[in-house]
């Protein structure tokens, strides 16, 4: 008896040796830093001035009293909201298009993934160069097609710049979302549509009553993933405009960077990071909740 239970324990221990290493790495590099940020945000650490004082919630009060913060926050809200909406619409359209049968379908399917594979720095640079107001190819092409009468300063127009950057962020994500939708569409059994065809449903009715309910899960997961990715996007805006002109294209992640490395206020940047983290955590928990259907199969 004794021997049996002790080998059982050794076996369990050795089984934990397989699964624990990633958990430890994640705790050290992802979870501990979050607690460290909480601690840091209660002080007034400055990268240049050496004196450190405990200021409790003062960093948060200062952030919330700041008008620029709210402008940037509003930018972030638009960034996530419009971004997720547009990504889903494009993803849905493209996914349904790729579900049609045509000859070069598989070629299109692999090529549209290139934006997702290209490093974000490269994609942001490519678009910045194409959108250049004088030497950029976009103004030139649109001009030749008579769609614009004079060159547009895409990255300098206050009302436009955020959406121009957002387009680049969307451009990198929609291939993924459309392939996710395509995978779900492939999973819908054909009998479903045959029944619909017999009942004489038209395209729109078929979409609303047959396709869409099947896609709801994929769309929800897609929306949450998109919001989470957009919340984490720093490089696109940073390379394209650095948040400018003024703060017109600045979103929270860029503000975090500037607060720490251009204003040197490390603690206030940590407080901003936690605000960013809070939003991220909310959407991640929502994702987990939607994902719960899969846990039971785990």
């Amino acid at each position: 008896m004794m021997k049996d239970s002790s080998t059982g324990t050794t076996r369990t221990l050795s089984q934990y040796l397989y699964v624990l290493p990633p958990v430890i790495v994640i705790v050290v590099f992802i979870i501990i830093p979050i607690f460290y940020a909480i601690d840091l945000s209660f002080y007034n650490v400055h990268l240049i001035k050496p004196r450190v004082k405990l200021v409790w919630l003062d960093n948060y009060f200062r952030i919330f009293r700041n008008k620029t913060f709210w402008e940037i926050f509003y930018n972030s809200v638009r960034w996530m909201g419009f971004g997720a909406l547009a990504t889903l619409l494009i993803g849905l359209g493209l996914g349904m298009f790729l579900n049609l049968e045509f000859r070069f379908n598989s070629v299109v399917r692999s090529l549209i993934f290139i934006p997702w594979i290209m490093p974000e720095v490269c994609a942001a640079f490519a678009w910045r160069w194409m959108l250049n107001s004088e030497m950029g190819v976009i103004n030139e092409v649109l001009g030749r097609l008579n769609l614009i009468s004079r060159y547009v300063a895409w990255l300098a127009e206050p009302n436009m710049v955020l959406y121009v950057c957002l387009w680049v962020a969307i451009w990198r994500i929609y291939p993924f979302i459309s392939l996710m939708i395509l995978a779900t569409l492939h999973g819908i059994p054909r009998e479903f549509y045959e029944a619909g065809a017999i009942d004489g449903a038209n395209f729109w009715q078929r979409f609303c009553y047959l396709t869409f309910p099947q896609l709801r899960y994929a769309l929800t997961i897609g929306a949450l993933l998109t919001v989470i990715w957009l919340m984490n996007s720093f490089t696109t805006v940073f390379i394209m405009t650095e948040g400018g002109p003024l703060h017109y294209s600045e979103i929270l992640p860029v503000l975090i960077y500037k607060m720490a490395f251009q204003s040197y206020r490390l603690s206030r940047a940590a407080a901003l990071s936690l605000i960013n983290f809070g939003i991220l955590l909310t959407f991640s928990l929502l994702y987990l909740w939607v994902f719960r259907r899969q846990w039971r199969q785990v």
Binding site: V23, I26, P33, I117, M118, F234, L266, L280
Partner: protein
């Protein structure tokens, strides 16, 4: 209406649909690929032509000089250590990919096989949710922590960091891989006297080579492309990865567009080639991971 007109109308509809599909496909591909195409075109222009207003759509005198400059690092009397940046990226991303695959393969196997392990599901969910956080929220605390440990401005520090960031996703990918591998073979091996570890290393791992290779490539791709943490941590130019070097170049000089284009093409090309080779497994792994774990 005679038979032939019905027939010709049907052909007409068929042709219209075909043309419509072709138009949409070309439109989608143009929007998707134009940026990369334009980078390639720009990278073949010489230093005069790149400033032409309006821009020329096809290089008048295509040249490889710019690529040569990026390869050697000597360009118009400046010295930009591009070869060093590429070597740094290769070391950091390659190291992270190897380390990550090593850890993820054991963990993936463990989670797939030891289903009655206490807390296993909780750990898997913890891993799943932690893949959402590497990003700007962690930038400041990680910078501050590594600075205290004087591990900032270190390529090894960056390698470990990338390993940690990519691990959640790759662990899930590898759980999926091992779940699809039947138990029978290793059960047979264990009856023949193999230990669990031997069965895993000698029987299971060789069968799942392809899955593990995909995992490694994915880890490599993400680490190779990472920018914000490299930007914050690597202060010395000689330690820069390509992403950081390119970013610095972009922010410093707003003029040498052809050089930046050439460097950008060189940075993305390996990833695109890798991807086109493995895309079938890759896309399946990715969409399955996101949709159903």
């Amino acid at each position: 209406m005679s038979f032939s007109t019905v027939h010709s109308r049907q052909t007409a509809i068929k042709i219209t649909i075909k043309v419509a599909i072709a138009v949409v496909a070309i439109f989608v591909l143009t929007i998707t690929l134009l940026p990369y195409l334009w980078l390639v075109i720009t990278s073949f222009k010489n230093y005069g032509e790149v400033f032409d207003v309006p821009p020329t759509l096809i290089p008048k005198a295509p040249t490889l000089d710019v690529y040569k400059g990026v390869f050697t690092g000597e360009q118009l009397g400046r010295h930009d250590p591009w070869p060093l940046f590429f070597a740094n990226s290769l070391a950091v991303a390659g190291g992270a990919a190897l380390l990550c695959t090593l850890i993820a393969s054991f963990a993936g196997y463990g989670f797939a096989r030891f289903t009655n392990l206490k807390g296993g599901t909780f750990l898997l969910i913890l891993i799943l949710v932690s893949q959402m956080f590497p990003g700007p929220s962690l930038l400041i605390p990680i910078y501050a922590m590594l600075r205290r440990l004087t591990l900032d401005n270190s390529r090894l520090g960056l390698l470990l960091l990338y390993t940690a960031f990519v691990l959640p996703f790759t662990t899930w990918m590898s759980v999926g891989t091992f779940r699809n591998i039947p138990r029978d073979l290793e059960d047979a091996a264990r009856i023949d006297g193999c230990s669990r570890l031997q069965a895993f290393l000698r029987i299971v791992l060789p069968i799942s080579k392809l899955g593990m290779a995909t995992t490694a490539l994915f880890a490599f791709l993400l680490s190779w492309s990472e920018y914000p943490f490299g930007l914050v941590l690597l202060k010395t130019q000689s330690k820069h990865t390509v992403a950081v070097g390119l970013g610095a170049f972009l922010r410093e000089f707003d003029v040498f567009w052809n050089e930046m284009a050439a460097a950008t093409v060189m940075m993305s090309l390996p990833l695109i080639i890798i991807f086109l080779f493995v895309q079938k497994f890759f896309v399946r792994g990715l969409t399955e991971g996101a949709l159903s774990g």
